[in-house]
Structure formats: C-alpha cells, structure tokens
Amino acid sequence: MSKLTTLQEAMGRVNDGDTVALGGNVLHRAPMAAAAELARQGRRGLHLVKTAGAMDVDLLCAAGAVASVTFGYIAYEPPYGLCQFFRRAVQEGRVEARENACYTVIMGLRAAVYGLPFLPVRGLDGSDLIAARGFKKVANPYGEGEFVAIPAIRPDVAILHVQEADELGNGRIGGPKYEDALMAKAARRVILTAERIVETARFEAEPDRTDIPGFLVEAVVHAPGGAAPGSCAGHYGIDDAQVRAFQAVTGPEELGRYLEQMAARTAHEGVSR
C-alpha cells in the first residue's frame, strides 16, 4: 500500500523524453532535490513545464537534460538575474523555448484536466507570441469573437515538493500554493517529495486542507530540504550562498560536484522519518 520510496528510485521512474511539470514558483518550493537527482542520473530530452521557473529549469539545462521548456518566465528574481544556462542553451539551439504567457500554460494544463485537446483563451491580443508559437484560433459559435486556442499540456509526470505527505500520497502545501494542484490533475503520473512524512490521520482530521489527493500520486519521497537552495514555507528561506555557488558553476565537472553535494545534503537529512 505504501508509496514511499527513495529519491533515486522515484526519479528513475521519469523517462528520457518525458514531459515533466515542476511545482513551486521561481525559487520557492520548487522540487530542487528531484531536479538535481534527474540531472545526476543523466536524464535526457525532458520537456519541462512551468509558469515561472528559475534554478530548477536552469540546473536541468546546465546538465543537458532538457529538450524544451514550456513557460511564461524563466529567470531568478533580484538579485540573481537571468538563468544563464537556460539562456545559453536556447541561444545555441540546444533547448527549445516554448514561451507562453503564464496563463496560457495554466489553460493548457486545464485543457488536459478537462480531457480536451485545446481551450480558448482571452488575452494575447496583439502579441507576437501567437504567430511565433503557431497558436490557432477558434470562433465563438454563439456570436462575435475569435479566441486563441491553447493546445493541451498533458505532462507525463508532475514532480511536486510539499511540506507534508503521507504514505498514500496525500499532500499538503504550506504557504503559497502556486499551480501544483493543477499540475497534479493534469499529469498522467504524480511524484511527491516532502519535508515531512506524517500519519494519514492528520489528513483525515482536516481533509479540506489536502492539496493533492493521494490516489492521484504514484510515489512519495521523504526529502527534507528538498526545495533547497530555494525556500520552503515554514521550513527554510533561500540559501543565498548555494544559489550563487550554482550560478558560478562552469563546466560539467563542477556541476557534477555541485549535484553530489546537493544529493548528500538530502540523503543525510532524509534518513529518519
């Protein structure tokens, strides 16, 4: 019954070429330990999906794991500047930048949740994104108006870091929720990493606070510090030194050492339940 497993095993379930939605937003509650483990395992050709990504996307681009990114915004917030690995990979043609508005990522995920190949969307008027992305239009069959049709985005897997999970896969998010619950519903499979593994009774006591229903989840990893060096509400803030250390990485060997250090921190802290 238990879906608890190791980070290594869980990330082994992600295949080369998969479409992977990453929870959290910029440097907050992103599944950093999971991203580092995917990089460490040498995953290739991933199609990442995120509204606003930062170090998670940048790290996977640095590791050469990424084929495309579907996104609204990929950059750090001040004072960390742009995601240089992502930027260079796009400029050199190694990664396809499937720019959306953040909302059209959301509408694409909603289309998948609703079992539809597309959803119409308001907005985008006058934006060159329509032509650049080849978005088509649909007419309102009841009256005036044409609307851009956003193709469904159905991730093969959503990887989400939450504050609390149980062994059945129920997940509770503290602080900002971002698009995690939507991703969990849109994706074919869901993997949770969690700061704490708690008893199911805790979810049963307040089921209205469960953000991710367990039956949608296939694997749960106890990963304290799993959003570091980004923040995790109620647990830790941004680790400035470690973000800067990553940004200063040059070359695969340095990246390898950085990833091993990240793995060691999670493994160490992750021993006890």
Binding site: N25, I74, P78, F86, R87, V90, Q91, Y103, S127, I238
Partner: protein, 236 residues
Amino acid sequence: MQYTIADQMVVCLARELRDGDTAFHGVASPIPAAAILLAQKAHGRAVTYVNIAGGVNASPRLAPSTDGPNMLDGTASLFGLTDIFDLSMRGGLSVAFLSGVQIDRRGRINSSVIGEFDRPKVRLPGGAGSAVIAPTCGRVLVWRGKHNTKALVEEVDFVSATGNIDVVVTPLCVFRRVDGELQLESIHATSSLAEVQENTGFPIPTREYPVTPPPTAEEMAWLERIDPDRARDQEL
C-alpha cells in the same frame, strides 16, 4: 530630504492608484509591491491588493522576491495567480504592474527575445503574464529599472505584450501614453531633459516639462515601515 531613485519610482506608481482599484503585481516586483502598500497606507486609497503568491490585502515585509511566503502575511484568503488571471479575463482587474526589457514608443513590451524568436541573439526571461494581462486589465502601469536607449526603444524587437499601457515610470522620468504614444509627462528632480533625451530611443520634443513631485516626508516614513530592508533598491 534623502531618497533614492527607487523611492521616487515607488511614489510615482503609488500616486497612480485610485479608490476602488484592484491592483496586481507578479514576480520580481518590489517597487510595485511597495507602491500598492504605500497607496493603501500613506494615501489611504481603498485598493484591493492581490499578489502572485496569493495574498489579498496582505501586509508583507518586502523582500527582493515578491513571490514568496512573506507575501501572504496578514491575508485572510488565498487568491493566487490562476485566480488573478481569471479575474483579469472577466474584467475584474483594474490595475496591473508590468515590466519589460524593451518598451517602445507605442508602449509595447518585449521580454521575450532580441533577434529571432526561434534562435535568438539574446533569450530574455519571457513576458510572464503580460501578454494576457495587458489587453484585459483596466490600466497597465509599467515600470523599468533602467532607462537607456536599449530599454526605451523606437520599436520592440518582439511584441511580448501590448494593450492598456497607461504609464511608464523609469529612473529618469514618467511617460504617459496619449493617443497610442508615450509622451513625457514629468522629469524626476534628479534628472534633466537632456539626460532623458540622450537615453531614450525615440525623439523627445524639447520643451518645458514639469518636475516629478519628489517623495514627501510622510511617504518616506511609510516606505521605511513597508520596506525597511529596502528591497526596492535591488531592482535598479
């Protein structure tokens, strides 16, 4: 009185808010966050403040990131990015703060690419929500932390977003869009017409312009409380 350029920009933006507004900012937006809080607290504006993290009329202690857990401090409900977008789409968002790497004479925004979209010379962060917010919300207040001929251009390389852009606030001045074109409205006391002309990629007519009213003592006192760590300076 001592104040920074960021203080001036915050104050300019705050003064744009009106009673009854529902105002939004996204990531990397300490200047807009400070402006909304200043309008509520110093100017007593009845503004509903929604932020990307999900706070509704929150009272965060500001940090360089405007998308973290602190943005929920004091909120009584969660109304996150998805809800805010939906609100704008149905006509319920009156003010949005947007930025862009390039802003052109017609008030259009580029945060996508320099060069070709598919193989860009420079890949920029992306327009985030601006492409859908700009055409649907009531008024867009644009701020930009740099004012030079690369930022304020005749024509953007790529239109990430265009729409109801009303005001553009820079470290040097305030533009307002009139009849579809940005017009210089006032020059900050710390700058000059010559500096604005030199650093703007489209022609600025030579004539008298008002001086932007600098921050007042009361505004500065409130700013000290709203943003004691001066996150707003990080943008410049």
